[in-house]
């Protein structure tokens, strides 16, 4: 596992930060970001896929009232791909029963999708070797977040109550000054320690957080990041040796 990984540094892989506005479509934006990134990595071709198509053509109806990343992937499979964002642009509202998928050329498609193990080391390995993935977290602390690495406890951010899907684009480690309780603060130099973190792309516009991104502590299942790590696959899985059942 490399010490750091940041897919934003690779040209044409991570698209601009989106703003879901008054539409609860984080699930569709996270899935679209995942497909765009994997398509760019696999085919060396930068694409921006249509979030609106995921909303209009989803089997569950009004995608602006919430949804699941796996439903976005199922929509992509059912429609044999996705149109471009340019051809089928984001409106911020759903036109249920107005799916326009057939009118537009597909610019990206997937073979299938998988859920990764709930193990941060394995998630980091997959991220570093395959590409960005979607995760679903408890968004409670993001309302007041400005910058830095969030390290929460199950009390401050319940890892079981996940309600917001985002794109995991990297990881790293920062040197940070250890924060002491207010009463223990002294004039002495504070000890430094390293803070491993995840880098996540949100869909609340570039004026929120760290230019639209935020960081969560890595290694403590902060805000339930390991609960639903999902990713599409844009290529056929490598064939494994066959075994025969006796």
């Amino acid at each position: 596992l490399p010490p750091t990984c940041d897919w934003r540094k690779a040209a044409g892989i991570i698209s601009s930060v989106k703003n879901q506005e008054n539409c609860n479509c984080c699930w569709a934006m996270a899935a679209a970001g995942n497909i765009e990134a994997l398509w760019g990595i696999k085919h060396h071709q930068s694409v921006e896929v249509s979030v609106q198509e995921l909303l209009d053509c989803g089997r569950c109806g009004n995608g602006c009232r919430g949804g699941f990343v796996w439903d976005a992937f199922i929509t992509v499979l059912n429609n044999s791909g996705l149109a471009s964002e340019k051809d089928y642009p984001f409106q911020g509202t759903v036109r249920t029963h107005r799916c326009l998928a057939r009118r537009h050329k597909k610019v990206a498609w997937i073979q299938d999708f998988i859920m990764l193990p709930d193990n941060e080391q394995k998630i980091a390995w997959y991220l570093a070797t395959q590409g960005p993935i979607t995760v679903t977290i408890n968004m409670k602390l993001l309302k007041q977040y400005q910058k830095g690495v969030i390290k929460a406890t199950p009390t401050t951010c319940d890892p079981r109550l996940v309600d917001h899907s985002v794109l995991l684009v990297g990881f790293g480690t920062s040197k940070s000054v250890e924060r002491k309780p207010a009463e223990a603060v002294s004039s002495q130099a504070h000890p430094q320690h390293s803070t491993p973190y995840w880098i996540l792309k949100n869909s609340w516009g570039a004026s929120w957080g760290e230019k639209g991104y935020f960081r969560l502590h890595r290694g403590s299942n902060t805000c339930g990041i390991t609960k639903y790590p999902l990713t599409a696959r844009v290529d056929q899985p490598v064939k494994k040796q066959r075994v025969s059942c006796p």
Binding site: N22, P117, K122, Q146, V149, T153, V162, D163, S176, T195
Partner: protein, 104 residues
């Protein structure tokens, strides 16, 4: 009294002034004085909550005024929670897959 005549240095901004700056930064206006007062109350509550989060955080995160600072937790949830239906995500258990999850 003993400080009279001395430069008091930078002082913390009053809540109303912070709220006014928030309104300018995020282009917020409210329909009537009652709504303005209500949003100011919510803003104050959110600032207090941000201070608490700052104290509780074990990392390096900074919490404070954001574009959501005049929203209640409920309004924020309605705006951004990915599943508006009660109950959220289904309680999928690892029992069915264990370490094999992720395999085709």
């Amino acid at each position: 009294g003993s400080l009279r005549g001395q430069d008091p240095g930078p002082q913390p901004l009053e809540l109303k002034e912070v709220f006014r700056l928030f309104q300018i930064q995020y282009n917020r206006s409210y329909s009537n004085p009652a709504e303005h007062a209500r949003r100011l109350d919510i803003f104050a509550h959110n600032l207090a909550q941000a201070q608490w989060l700052q104290k509780e955080d074990l990392g390096t995160a900074e919490f404070g005024v954001t574009l959501f600072s005049d929203l209640t937790d409920e309004e924020f949830g309605q705006l951004y929670r990915h599943q508006s239906a009660a109950g959220g995500l289904p309680n999928v258990s690892k029992q069915v897959g264990s370490e094999e999850w992720g395999e085709p």
